[in-house]
Amino acid sequence: MKLADLPALTIADLQTLLRRGEVSPTDVLKALRARIEKVDLTLDAYLSLDFETAVKEAEKTDVNLPLGGVPIAIKDIINVAGQPCTCASKILGNYRSPYDATVIRNLRAAGAIPLGKTNMDEFAMGSSTENSGFKPTRNPWDLSRVPGGSSGGSAAAVAADAAFGAFGTDTGGSIRQPAALSGVVGVKPTYGRVSRFGVTAFASSLDQVGSLTKTVRDAAMLMRAISGPDPQDSTSLNEPVADYVAALDRDLRGVRLGLPKEYLIEGIDSQVKSAMDAAVKHFGSLGAEIVDVSLPHTEYGVAVYYFVATAEASANLARFDGVRYGHRAENPRDLLDHYGRTREEGFGAEVKRRIILGTYVLSSGYYDAYYIRAQKVRELIRQDFANAFQKVDAIISPTSPVPAFKLGERTSDPLQMYLADVFTIPANLAGICGVSLPCGFAKVDGKQLPIGLQLLGKPLDEGRIFQIANAYEQSTDWHKQKPPIQ
């Protein structure tokens, strides 16, 4: 195989070549580097790249390890020792991680090589990657459009074969939505399945790390490597991790899929709706039983999310005070001036907006009315899912109501941007797992834009949704389509 053809491979296929000794881990890095240098000037998927360190690690790696010799891109919110970790914020412009996040330690133990920090919305706040403090990332299917967000750099890199796989974080859809808009597979695991230690906190009760990959099998491989309990994250769940890969190939006979009526909202794109309808039919033909279910509190998800997530963010982002790390304002008059200007200069508009909203909903006199009420409605959303999962094994819906939108199209109206996450937010609020995978294309302005299908599973039932997703993927060829970028 020619080196130039390597970057298009899946992780599973790359691994076969590595283990047969047909290519070496350093060959793989060389080929990937050439691909990145070719496409990333256009895409802007990466914020930083350190090939030299990666090559040194590649020379030592054991290809017989579960991910031996496979380079993986990392969202710039996950700490990789010695590398920048900016969270796409100017306030962390010069920050270098003094340590590895637990997911990175796990990844290295599995033989993988972290390569490159990917672009994102600042502190993961956004749905388009336009809120990056440094540059927007472009969608490889149509360069005038966004890749989704906040893990847009990871999604675009995988879609354009500029990464074999990547990690992102998902607080309200930040892995699944960009996966859908960029045409890749994105996983949000059960809350607590993956350690958050070393992952810069946005909303601590919602954040989870997950994978973006070309196939469901690759997702199962990456998620198996990073999942599990961590003594350094007291919210991580002390439960065994199933062998996701071994369970992939079971068929769908007897599987019950729930179709929630609330997901057919007004404003859903007609091409997204027809792709969904076709996918549901396809699942039926694979032997799955389709069952109508109801999630009556779905319409409140976005409102609950913007109180809970901003409240937690306003507290988490208090640490960016210019004292121990990060940007510090010059010549402050006094301490209040130091804090006020450091944060004014360091944070972008969306982060400021969310700090204000979060501080407001937590402030005296409003806490019960907004924050506590939101947490109560959140419990109702969790109960909706628990009730539905008594009847079905997984729930199916579109990932995003619309395909990729144009750069700049939604930036002036934050509420419209928030509504992009209407189908993904409930899973974070309920703590359940979800996966988005390609299920078709919309034709818009003569371009093909990917459409994503979301499967939601019970807590800790990742293996089941991977199995269902794999059966769909392997009997369709949406995942084999490549974007026009060359």
Binding site: Y306, F307, Q375, V377, P414
Partner: protein, 96 residues
């Protein structure tokens, strides 16, 4: 729920130790007003018999052994400090 037009962005910004320009204050006043108005729908729901959810999957009493282990050296802890001297962070004056 309180009157949603009542958000005083300038006051909240002070609480958040975040300076805003006049333009930002005005813009956020309008945008956050819209968000609060949208979120007003939460008032429609009867939550009188619902427990607030703190964590999606309940986890209680997580303990580990309290043992010393290697962690950052002072030098590593200071590696990102905006200002430092003598193995200490230099901070803005806090007393008169």
């Amino acid at each position: 729920m309180p009157d949603t037009s009542g958000i005083d962005v300038g006051y909240v910004a002070k609480l958040a130790r975040l300076n805003l320009s006049d333009e930002e204050t005005q813009l956020f006043q309008k945008q956050l007003g819209d968000v609060l108005q949208y979120a007003d729908k939460l008032r429609q729901i009867d939550v009188s018999h619902v427990e607030a959810l703190a964590h999606a999957i309940p986890v209680f009493n997580v303990f580990r052994e309290d043992e010393p282990r290697d962690w950052f050296t002072a030098e590593e802890a200071l590696s990102n400090a905006p200002r430092q001297a003598n193995n200490l962070f230099i901070v803005t004056k806090v007393v008169e």
